[in-house]
């Protein structure tokens, strides 16, 4: 019975990525490889101020002294940094004033992904900053937002228009010395998003960025910086999907969030990069450093992620709870299938008094994949009366996959409470039969059960995103779309 179920699950889950297409847009490349000249080239291309070039060079020199970390539960083929193109920008001849001016090929790509800027613009009230191959092509709604004093633009634009803000906050949460991939990103980052919410402003729309890796052999190094001033609120969404490739592509992003007194930032991600084929060939290497700091008292940062893509995911969205009574949250669904590997989790660093954190992690493994939760809860000596609740669940589909949990807990005082719960379960043959007996086929049944299992996390997502995330979960594990 067991082996039958496994066989069926294997057939159902062993499917290829649905979004594997390549759009043909003219691209301008940096020379292959990484030297100090590459860093200077990027900075020059982007017409950056001196302080930024300095920052990049310091990061680059520091990176040279580091080695790739080996502690994660991942098996990573060596990365040849000299064989990577560190900068690629879609060529554009003139400034784009409207959507009509955008390369039709590019718009078609968005449409294939179901991201119609036009539609987004007209219907959804979602401001979209679409990133293709490192350079922001189009930002919508920025005028509406600017009425509130909200800045939402590409990182490059922010560097040109608001250098003082960039200088003040960039690297303040994730310093370039933080880790190997953070140093690399700091040296060669191409573009990304910048978001600034002024004091007391509640951002009226969900801010959304769609990332997409497009040109072959192009490492992509996004950098996102979100600053919420005192009493500000913003919900930010990041979603991505990439075309099919045979060679591994490197992605090393940085996201920094700063929440001042009484501010709240909600950061949601749906990540669906090319995971490699059934045999584990190709796929994105996703090494991301995401961190937020609750700098002021009563501030709150909430990370929600749905991770279905990438060959390798190495990602720990974290919260530094510095302000008293600040709150950190981490809600995660990570799906691995075929030969995917994920080592993901969070760090909750309690520094302020009466700080609280919640961690809900749902891992789903299928095929021959490996899925690890790694989380650190550190309560410092001064963080009295702090609380953490962690729940880490694993769902296994079939018997060829692995689920692992690595919780690290450091409690530095006696007035704080740390709770950790963990479960591992399987989709049972009984559940599948029950669904099928009601007329629901095997694939839909798995989709239904998996979505139910992940519901606690999915309900944290903004509405627009939740629907997409549900679809993605099903697609990642099933043989057919929708």
């Amino acid at each position: 019975m067991e082996s039958e179920t496994n066989k069926i699950l294997g057939e159902v889950t062993g499917t290829d990525y649905k979004y594997g297409f390549v759009s043909d847009i003219e691209t301008e490349f940096a020379p292959r490889g990484l030297t100090e000249d590459t860093v200077r080239y990027i900075s020059l291309k982007k017409n950056e101020p001196e302080f930024l070039l300095e920052f990049r060079l310091k990061a680059f020199r520091h990176w040279l002294t580091m080695t790739q970390p080996q502690w994660a539960h991942l098996s990573i083929a060596p990365i040849d940094f000299q064989d990577i193109i560190f900068y690629a920008a879609p060529k554009r001849k003139t400034e784009l004033k409207s959507l009509e001016a955008v390369d039709p090929e590019l718009l078609a790509t968005f449409n294939k992904l179901g991201i119609s800027l036009e539609e987004q613009k007209k219907l959804s009230g979602v401001a979209v900053d679409a990133v293709i191959d490192s350079v922001s092509v189009k930002t919508t709604f920025s005028e509406t937002l600017s009425k509130y004093g909200i800045i939402f633009c590409s990182f490059s634009d922010a560097v040109q228009k608001h250098p003082e803000l960039v200088k003040q906050y960039m690297g303040s949460v994730v310093p370039y010395t933080d880790n190997y991939f953070a140093a690399l990103n700091s040296a060669v980052f191409s573009d990304g998003s910048f978001c600034y919410i002024p004091k007391g402003v509640r951002c009226p729309v969900e801010l959304s960025t769609y990332f997409r890796i497009n040109a072959a052999n192009t490492g992509q190094f996004e950098r996102t910086l979100i600053v919420a001033e005192e009493g500000a609120y913003v919900s930010y969404m990041e979603g991505c999907t990439a075309p099919q490739r045979d060679e591994n592509q490197l992605h090393a992003a940085i996201v920094e969030i700063v929440a001042l007194k009484d501010a709240e930032v909600k950061y949601s991600t749906v990540q669906n990069w090319y995971p490699g084929d059934k045999n584990g060939i190709g796929g994105i290497y996703n090494f991301v450093t995401k961190r937020g700091i609750c700098k002021g008292s009563n501030s709150k940062i909430s990370w929600t992620q749905v991770e279905t893509g990438s060959a390798i995911t190495w990602k720990y969205p974290s919260c530094i709870l510095l302000g008293d009574h600040s709150v950190g949250e981490f809600y995660s669904v990570a799906v691995t299938n075929n030969h995917q590997q994920a080592d993901t989790g969070t760090k909750m660093l309690h520094l302020g008094k009466n700080t609280r954190s919640t961690i809900i992690s749902k891992g789903i493994s299928a095929g021959k994949s490996n899925n690890s939760y790694r989380g650190l809860v550190r309560i410092s000596k001064n963080a009295v009366n702090s609380r953490n609740y962690s729940q880490c669940d694993s769902l296994l589909l079939g018997s060829g996959c692995g689920a692992h949990t690595f919780p690290y807990i450091e409690a530095g005082n006696k007035s704080s409470i740390v709770e950790h719960e963990a479960t591992t379960s399987k989709i049972s043959e009984d559940q599948l039969f029950y669904c099928q007996q009601r007329g629901i086929d095997m694939e839909s049944a798995i989709g239904l059960i998996v979505n139910g299992y992940a519901r606690e996390v999915l309900k944290q997502l903004p509405m627009e995103f939740a629907v997409e995330a549900q679809k993605l979960l099903s697609i990642s594990l099933e043989g057919s779309v929708g």
């Binding site: 019975m1 009984d430 559940q431 039969f433 007329g439 839909s444 979505n451």
Partner: protein, 251 residues
């Protein structure tokens, strides 16, 4: 004939459970299948529903003239076969609303009907809730999660009411029910009865048949139907006990 089971032999892991079952069920009929524990009652239900762990070694099952063995579990369901489970399984996080809407729309699609919208479906749910006398907020909860035994069984009847099957096989739906729940389950069946559908009620006790009056009663013993009759057979069984059947078989 709606269902026609002919000389059915079925086994699990090489062990033969059904040893030549014959059963004919026509539209508008209610059949009760009784018998001691472990004689193959639940196996018969599972085999008709298409559970793959059971292997049919010989014989055939015809449903609306079609060879059921050629249909998958979900195709049988979409063709109108419903099984009320003895032990309904929990599906955490999946709301009954979402579950039943998915199921109903799959079945409708199979029959060439348009999917019901969210609003239409909620209306239908309210209607059916009344029909099967569910007053609690069952419908907002996850499928069977944290349900009492009685709630699970009522939920099965509720699902049956929504899907409106042609052939409903209720596998010991009465077991573990108090008298109120039993009455609700039985009333559900009586209200859903139509001239064009049929019920096969599997039960260990005669008790349920106080509320559901069967047209035919069959006794399943050691993998075969050894006795068939009208509703009076149930009373006879109740009076004489299953030992009577055993002795008769041994004789």
């Amino acid at each position: 004939m709606l269902l026609s089971v002919k000389n059915l032999h079925a086994s699990i892991h090489g062990k033969e459970i059904l040893k030549g079952v014959n059963l004919e069920v026509d539209q508008g009929e209610i059949h009760a299948i009784m018998g001691p524990n472990g004689t193959g009652k639940s196996t018969l239900a599972s085999v008709i529903a298409g559970r793959e762990v059971f292997e049919i070694t010989s014989g055939e099952i015809l449903y609306k003239g079609k060879d059921l063995q050629k249909l998958s579990v979900e195709e049988r369901a979409r063709e109108g076969i419903f099984m009320g489970f003895q032990y309904p399984v929990e599906i955490p996080g999946v709301s009954i609303t979402n579950f039943m809407r998915t199921a109903l729309n799959e079945i409708r699609k199979y029959s060439g009907l348009d999917a019901l919208s969210g609003g239409e479906f909620l209306k239908l749910m309210e209607e059916k809730k009344k029909l099967v006398e569910i007053t609690s907020n069952l419908t907002n909860r996850s499928v069977n999660e944290g349900f009492s035994g009685g709630e699970k069984k009522k939920n099965e009847i509720f699902q049956m009411a929504i899907l409106e099957p042609m052939l409903a096989i209720l596998d010991e739906t009465d077991s573990g029910l108090d008298i109120d729940a039993l009455r609700i389950v039985a009333n559900g069946v009586n209200k859903l009865r139509r001239p064009d559908n049929a019920f096969v009620v599997i039960t260990h006790y005669q008790r349920l048949l106080d509320y559901i009056v069967p047209d035919f009663v069959h006794v399943l013993f050691e993998g075969r139907i050894v006795k068939s009759g009208g509703k009076e057979l149930a009373f006879e069984l109740e009076e004489k006990g299953y030992d009577w059947i055993k002795k008769e078989q041994e004789a």
